[in-house]
């Protein structure tokens, strides 16, 4: 697996087997079957694993959302009781934020950042695998609580002191806090890994301002994660110490300040919303130029506005707390910073529109989702500006107006961007194109469903329906145009339209998988480096590491400006560029070898946290697993040395025989 010998015409990689033992176990070597996935350190496989797992949690979170909407479809809903309803909305938010959007973005980043910067893998391939397994085990750990006494029920921001043992006596919040701790470490390792990858491993000639825009936005996200995750780590530790070890942090009787949690949570939580939406901004900034047949308008402005969002995103957290009595100075300052952050966001929207302006628009499904994002995110952005006005926000706090706002930005922004990316990059990842007709239905049902679901929530919220209300009565639902029952029913119907739209996507995936038609090498006439390799990419990504001369390098290898007419004319096809690369392919490409240790180490963590809740003996056992896995890891080189391989190919050479005996 790890050494790929290339001959001029034969493309099959030869499987190499490490012969000596490092640490405790021999290295895994399977190139096919489940072992090839479980022990892989390949960024593309891990990217797909992130994507599939995130999709699974998307369905889980979606079912939770549908149950919430069923409960609220009519007055006196009987689907869920109050307790279960609390768990449902808490876990819906937790699942969608931490187990769907974040890992989906991590999947895209894993898959495409190395391809976009012309690298063969990430900087720390095993740490990459560790990140995925920690995310998976953390996600499973959080959801285990459903089966062990009930899930967390304090809302996704888990305000103190409501999250204390007095008000939430089940273990739900313990599972929640420890599980998020594990997924937090996963995000942290991912952030370190991708930052080093982007800073250190770009192809020759690719300066920062020649980097594809998606990579740029993901880099900003990784910096946000790097600095935001430790803050929630502290908050979660304080909460766990209080619930499990008797600390007093949020014990008001001991003089604790409940606002401590709110500050820590939102110092993490506000950068977090940009962590959720910037990946989609990156995707859209890739998709719009390709389907407008124009370069991205104002690339440096899109880059710097992304970075500006990353900076200003740190100075707005208290706008989540206007109703908590911060005092007029704090409220005024955070109002102003919140209005200010609308500026770089607006810059992006203007740039996207001007990218399309005068372009030869191709309305593919990916393009439709991108345009959908521009429109619906702008709606959510505008209601966001109304929150920055503190007096108005005080009216809106904890009403459905807030629910409407953040679903427009996170669903209309984040999720539509993700679907745009899925349709755009599907041929790159799987070598087949998703069905465009079904994609059209998928898009329209999702857009109509989302507006039916979240649009009425503006009205409900301004009418005063509090969020997290588990029932409303006929008598109090009002009359005429502002009837609670009517708009709640509309929202519930909308949520099922939305669900059908997403179901169509899953059907599309199955149909595409069964369809034998392969996609062309460069189906969309794309611009960036990830398209300069086969579909799906080879294990080593590029036969030759490209030397970069332009932003949109791939485009400039295909097209050249005609000096007479100042129009672009084609000078090469993607197939020709690919063939050229294969002719000059590097002979010996050493790829990082698979490893057992990431999954073993990651498995130790939930064992520790499980033990923290139930029995410290189990925690010790988990710590032993982590300790030995760390040692096995440290003693094993990332890329097995050349002397450590014997090729299974044809006749084994005598030279390798002696290596085996010695």
């Amino acid at each position: 697996m790890a050494i790929i010998e290339r001959e001029i015409e034969v493309m099959a990689p030869m499987v190499a087997t490490p012969t000596s033992t490092y640490g405790v176990l021999k290295r895994p070597v399977a190139a096919t079957g489940w072992r090839a996935w479980v022990f892989t350190v390949d960024h593309k496989k891990l990217g797909l694993m992130y994507g599939v797992t995130a999709m699974f949690f998307f369905i889980v979170g979606g079912v939770e959302a549908l149950l919430i909407r069923l409960q609220l479809a009519a007055p006196n809903g009987k689907v869920l009781n109050a307790d279960l309803y609390n768990q449902m909305f808490t876990m819906h938010a937790t699942t969608m934020v931490f187990l769907f959007v974040m890992p989906m973005a991590a999947g895209f980043a894993n898959y495409f950042i190395p391809l976009q910067i012309g690298a063969r893998d990430v900087a720390f391939p095993r740490m990459n695998a560790l990140g995925f397994w920690m995310f998976l085990f953390g996600g499973i750990f959080i959801n285990l609580s459903w089966f062990i006494g009930g899930a967390a029920d304090g809302g996704w921001f888990m305000y103190a002191p409501n999250s204390g043992p007095v008000f939430s006596p089940t273990h739900g919040i313990d599972f929640w806090a420890f599980g998020l701790q594990i997924t937090g470490i996963a995000s942290l390792t991912g952030a370190i890994n991708l930052i080093v990858t982007v800073l250190n491993m770009r192809a020759p000639g690719m300066t920062l301002m020649k980097m594809p825009i998606f990579t740029w936005m993901m880099t900003v996200v990784q910096f946000l994660l790097l600095f935001a995750v430790p803050v929630i780590t502290v908050a979660l530790f304080l909460l766990s110490f209080q619930r499990n070890f008797g600390a007093r942090f949020f014990d008001v009787a001991a003089g604790a300040d409940p606002l401590l949690w709110q500050h820590l949570f939102w110092i993490f939580g506000h950068p977090e919303v940009y962590i959720l939406v910037l990946p989609s901004f990156g995707i859209v900034s890739e998709v719009l130029p390709v389907f407008s047949r124009k370069p991205l308008f104002g690339y440096p402005f899109v880059v710097f506005s992304g970075a500006a969002i990353g900076f200003v995103g740190w100075g707005v957290w208290a706008h989540h707390m206007f109703a908590s009595g911060l005092g007029p100075v704090s409220v005024a300052v955070f109002s102003l910073t919140t209005m200010a952050i609308a500026v770089p966001t607006g810059v992006k929207i203007i740039n996207w529109i001007l990218t399309m302006w005068g372009g030869k628009l191709v309305f593919s499904t990916a393009m439709k989702f991108s345009i959908g994002l521009i429109v619906l995110f702008t709606v959510g952005g505008l209601s966001g500006v109304t929150h920055s006005v503190a007096p108005s926000d005080t009216q809106q706090t904890d009403t459905y107006y807030i629910v409407a706002h953040f679903h427009y930005v996170l669903f209309g922004g984040g999720v539509l961007g993700i679907f745009s990316g899925l349709y755009y990059w599907w041929p790159k990842m799987f070598g087949k194109m998703l069905n465009e007709r079904l994609g059209n239905w998928n898009f329209w049902l999702m857009v109509i469903g989302m507006n039916l679901t979240f649009g009425p929530m503006h009205i409900l919220g301004l009418q005063g329906q509090p969020r997290r209300m588990y029932q409303f009565t006929e008598a109090r639902s009002g009359e005429g145009l502002f009837n609670f029952a009517f708009w709640n029913l509309v929202a519930s119907i909308g949520s099922f339209v939305l669900a059908v739209g997403i179901l169509l996507f899953l059907i599309n995936v199955v149909i595409t998988a069964r369809n034998p038609t392969k996609s062309p090498l460069d189906p969309w006439n794309s611009r960036s480096l990830e398209w300069m390799t086969s579909n799906p990419p080879k294990e080593h990504n590029f036969d030759v590491i490209p030397t970069v001369h332009h932003l949109d390098e791939f485009f400039h290898r295909k097209y050249e400006e005609d000096p007479a007419t100042h129009t672009m004319r084609q000078i090469a096809t993607a197939e020709e560029i690919m063939a050229e690369q294969e002719r000059n392919a590097d002979a010996h490409i050493h790829m990082p070898s698979p490893s057992y240790w990431p999954i073993v180490l990651a498995f130790g963590l939930p064992v520790i946290t499980f033990g923290m809740i139930f029995s410290h003996l189990i925690a010790v056992f988990g710590a032993v697993i982590v300790f030995f896995a760390a040692f096995g890891w440290a003693l094993e080189p990332s890329t097995a040395p050349a002397s450590d391989f014997e090729t299974n190919n044809s006749a084994p050479s005598t030279e390798l025989d002696t290596v085996g005996k010695s």
Partner: protein
């Protein structure tokens, strides 16, 4: 960990992957300790029961153990320097001394925690107790992890099976060690020296 040449790449930022990764991690750690220190500063005067900070802190004792920890940064520098010169025996020696100094500090902390506990400051006694033990405990765990890494390095070097460049690894662990020391200077000043 991997070295930059593994994928046929030169380093764009002029610093190896492991070191850049460690710098990024330490950046993140700043926010971790920032959160813990803020929590302590908010709660240090809030004593509803049990002793107040000024009643239990033994500043001369903690000053001595702080000095020991700071000296370990010096020996760490000597270890890095020896590793760069390729002097294996000296590297191992200074790494061991660094670990011993670190262990002395952790030993002092264990003694101090025991003494405070006996004087009536438990983890659950007051907000001051909870936030004091959490902050200094987190720092102590960081030092302990550092000691484990140092001793593992010594052990691995003796078997001479360390993957990657030796000096690079020593330097990376050194970055971590110095960071933990610097954090202690801040904690010592804010927790012990500035009166409530």
């Amino acid at each position: 960990m991997t070295d930059t040449t593994a994928h046929g790449h030169t380093s764009s930022a002029g610093i190896s992957n492991v070191k850049l990764g460690m710098w990024a991690f330490l950046g993140s750690e700043c926010l971790l300790f920032g959160g813990l220190i803020s929590t302590y500063m908010l709660y240090r005067g809030r004593v509803t029961g049990g002793p107040r900070p000024s009643q239990i802190f033994d500043i001369p004792f903690t000053s001595v153990s702080s000095f020991v920890l700071l000296m370990s940064s010096l020996t760490m520098v000597l270890a890095v320097s020896a590793a760069h010169k390729g002097e294996d025996r000296k590297t191992n020696l200074w790494l061991t001394v660094t670990a011993l100094l670190g262990a002395t500090f952790v030993g002092g902390q264990v003694y101090e925690f025991t003494a405070f506990y006996n004087e009536g400051l438990g983890f659950s006694t007051s907000l001051f107790g909870s936030s004091f033990y959490t902050l200094t405990g987190f720092h102590g765990v960081h030092v302990t992890v550092g000691i484990i890494m140092l001793m593992s390095l010594v052990g691995i070097f003796k078997r001479s099976e360390v993957p990657g460049k030796k000096a690079e690894v020593v330097e990376m662990i050194g970055l971590y060690w110095h960071f933990v020391d610097i954090v202690w200077i801040i904690i010592f000043t804010l927790v012990y020296l500035i009166p409530v």
